[in-house]
């Protein structure tokens, strides 16, 4: 398994760079993951998305549907892409430390 360094922390990540132990996520990890996704600094709007995803994940154990993310944060899909160029799943969810959704998706 590949490893990812965030400051003095070393995290296991899968082939796509998703962290494998969501419990080890923190804001520094998010910033480090974001820089790998073309996000140089996390602004207030980035945090709004990341914190929403994080809260949803802690409550439900999975990622929300993108439509719900957009509706609840007030960002349109293209605005999410502007914030996270690699998109809501491979960008925003990864930064928020969520696992990658699998199945008929």
């Amino acid at each position: 398994m590949a490893e990812f360094k965030a400051g003095d922390m070393v995290l296991d990540v899968d082939e796509d760079g998703f962290i494998q132990e969501p419990d080890k996520w923190n804001e520094k990890v998010a910033a480090a993951l974001a820089s790998g996704e073309g996000v140089d600094s996390l602004t207030e709007n980035h945090w709004k998305v990341v914190n929403y995803l994080r809260d949803y994940y802690l409550k439900f154990g999975v990622a929300p549907m993108i439509r719900k993310l957009c509706k609840d944060t007030g960002f349109k899909l293209n605005e999410i892409y502007e914030l996270f160029p690699s998109g809501p799943a491979k960008g925003a969810c990864k930064v928020a430390g969520l696992p990658k959704p699998t199945g008929c998706v």
Binding site: M1, D14, E15, D16, E37, V62, M65, S86, G103
Partner: protein
């Protein structure tokens, strides 16, 4: 990102590069060409934690790119015993190993062969990868004459080749339609994957959903409160679009019907709109039905793993039907789940004597053909409603859409549902155009990402496998201005969105019940100015 597109993104692949192949076979014999495992053509292996969760053998971290796949020490014995056991257990397997005369009728029927030109994707040769080992070790001719009799010894190279090509088959069975002997090549792939599984060789895109499903009831790992939240969210959007507040009955004991759909409909665009379509239809009918947070998955990635796994994952459907004391089961717009439900469920998990032969409470139609499984497809149910004039429909609400239909492999070839979706579509929209004859109905082309291959790291093969379908979609786009591809399968809705984006970029994908719900005139509805995507209904397509 600065470094440009990667192999798991469609922008990485140019049409010119992908189409640079020819169908002439190489000069070297096929047995002497090792599998070329390049990125974009294989799927990440199953993570150890998922194998452990399912009690599967040899959980470990490994990669197909590694030289050493960390196989068990006695791997050869395991595979050999596995073949023997399956030859004894499945008569079809033995027959399919023996009867192929290599006529080649199937050779050019596979979407992966058409879109890639690799001779080992000719179904006859893909089967030969396993058949050659069978001949060598299990037939007198092969044991005596070896290669002269078409046999070859089992080696690690053979195992790697099996992995490469049995995960370049979507078990779609188009080739079987053309086989004069009726060999079901999907079953050969299934056997190949079972044998690989004995060594702990699984792909994560299949085994993680299977583990999730075993734990939570669905592939995505949605828990009961999450499903409730999701369906309530749909109800809010439905109210915004229609002005009607609908009920979402969950885990309702004594309901007449249990409804089960693939969990992709709870998360993925555009499947979520199909799901809203079911909710609207059932509300309008006043149907006495229920969703279940336990049987919360119609799909079954066990089908892509092993027969044992199919059975384990599918058991919840009858169990929940019994617990809730429903009369029969209705299933949503899914493809592969219907191969399981229609062809395996009654013998694997039945007999379901606690259920009754499905009867539509609205029309009184008795679905006699489902008397053994007690489960029917929603397209049969809805077509019957329309046939009996039970739905008030205004197809003009879908007038901005010019629609074609993709027959999903399993509903078409494993069930024969060919007319119902077309009948429904022609009643809910005014502009419907079929794709060319050789690409639809029982000869339909796969989306290229079925059987658990719909993940991004496999993008080159998905685009290659999607070429024949994408080409036919582009044809009706150019000829008839088609801008929507309707499909009644969750994998299709996900994978064809990518295929269309690449090969037919003006065409978007949607489920059939989204179109049904847009056209359905509801009691008490407000003027429908928004569709289910909350876009203005009169907005023209780009």
């Amino acid at each position: 990102m600065a470094e440009g597109p990667k192999f798991d993104q469609i922008a990485y692949y140019t049409h010119d590069d992908l189409l640079k192949f020819d169908y002439r076979p190489p000069a070297t014999g096929w047995m002497d060409i090792p599998a070329n495992l390049r990125p974009g053509t294989w799927i990440y292996p199953g993570k150890p934690k998922h194998l452990e969760y399912l009690d599967l053998p040899n959980p470990r971290a490994w990669s197909p790119a590694d030289e050493d796949w960390k196989l068990p020490e006695n791997w050869k014995e395991i595979v050999s015993n596995g073949i023997r056991e399956r030859l004894d257990k499945y008569r079809s397997f033995r027959v399919f190993m023996d009867i192929c005369v290599r006529c080649g009728a199937c050779a050019d029927k596979c979407h992966f062969y058409i879109g890639g030109g690799d001779p080992k994707n000719m179904p006859v040769l893909r089967a030969e990868l396993l058949r050659s080992v069978y001949r060598n070790d299990f037939t007198t001719a092969g044991k005596t004459l070896g290669r002269l009799a078409g046999g070859r010894p089992l080696t690690v190279g053979v195992i790697k080749e099996w992995f490469h090509y049995f995960f370049q088959c979507t078990e779609c069975r188009r080739c079987s339609v053309f086989c004069p002997y009726g060999i079901d090549t999907a079953e050969i792939t299934m056997m190949g994957r079972e044998l690989l599984g004995l060594l702990g060789i699984y792909v994560n895109w299949i085994i993680e959903p299977a583990a999730n499903c075993f734990r939570t009831g669905n592939h995505l790992g949605i828990q009961p409160h999450g499903l409730k939240d999701t369906l309530s969210f749909f109800a809010d959007d439905i109210e915004e679009a229609t002005g009607v507040r609908i009920d979402v009955p969950m885990n309702k004991k004594g309901a007449e019907i249990l409804f089960v759909t693939p969990s992709g409909d709870f998360l993925a665009d555009p499947g979520i709109y199909t799901c809203m379509g079911y909710l609207i239809l059932f509300h309008e009918l006043g149907l006495n039905y229920t969703w279940s947070t336990y049987a919360s998955e119609g799909g079954n990635f066990g089908l892509f793993t092993s027969h044992e796994m199919i059975k384990r994952l599918n058991a919840k459907i009858y169990a929940e039907a019994k617990r809730l004391n429903v009369k029969w089961v209705l299933g949503g717009e899914c493809g592969h789940m219907w191969r399981v439900l229609h062809q395996y469920m009654d013998t694997m998990n039945g007999p379901a004597d606690h259920l009754q032969v499905p009867v539509s409470p609205i029309t009184g139609t008795r679905f006699e053909h489902a008397r053994s499984t007690k489960m029917i497809h929603i397209m049969e149910f809805t077509a019957d409603l329309i046939k009996h004039g039970k739905l008030k429909l205004d197809p003009s609400r879908n007038d901005r859409l010019r629609v074609t239909f993709h027959d999903s492999c399993n509903t078409a070839r494993a069930m024969g549902i060919l007319e119902e979706p077309r009948y429904v579509l022609k009643n809910v929209c005014n502009s419907f155009f079929d794709m060319p004859e050789n690409t639809i109905r029982e000869k339909t082309f796969c989306c290229g990402g079925g059987a658990g291959l719909g993940t991004d790291e496999n993008m080159e093969m998905r685009l290659r496998g999607g070429l024949p379908r994408g080409n036919a979609v582009q044809y009706v786009h150019e000829r008839h201005g088609v801008n929507r591809l309707a499909a009644m399968c969750a994998i299709d809705r996900a994978t064809l969105s990518t295929v269309c984006e690449y090969w037919a970029p003006k065409v978007k994908v949607m489920g059939i019940h989204e179109l049904v719900a847009n056209a359905l005139v509801m009691k008490g509805e407000k003027k429908r100015e928004l569709n289910l995507r909350l876009q203005p209904v009169d907005e023209t397509e780009e």
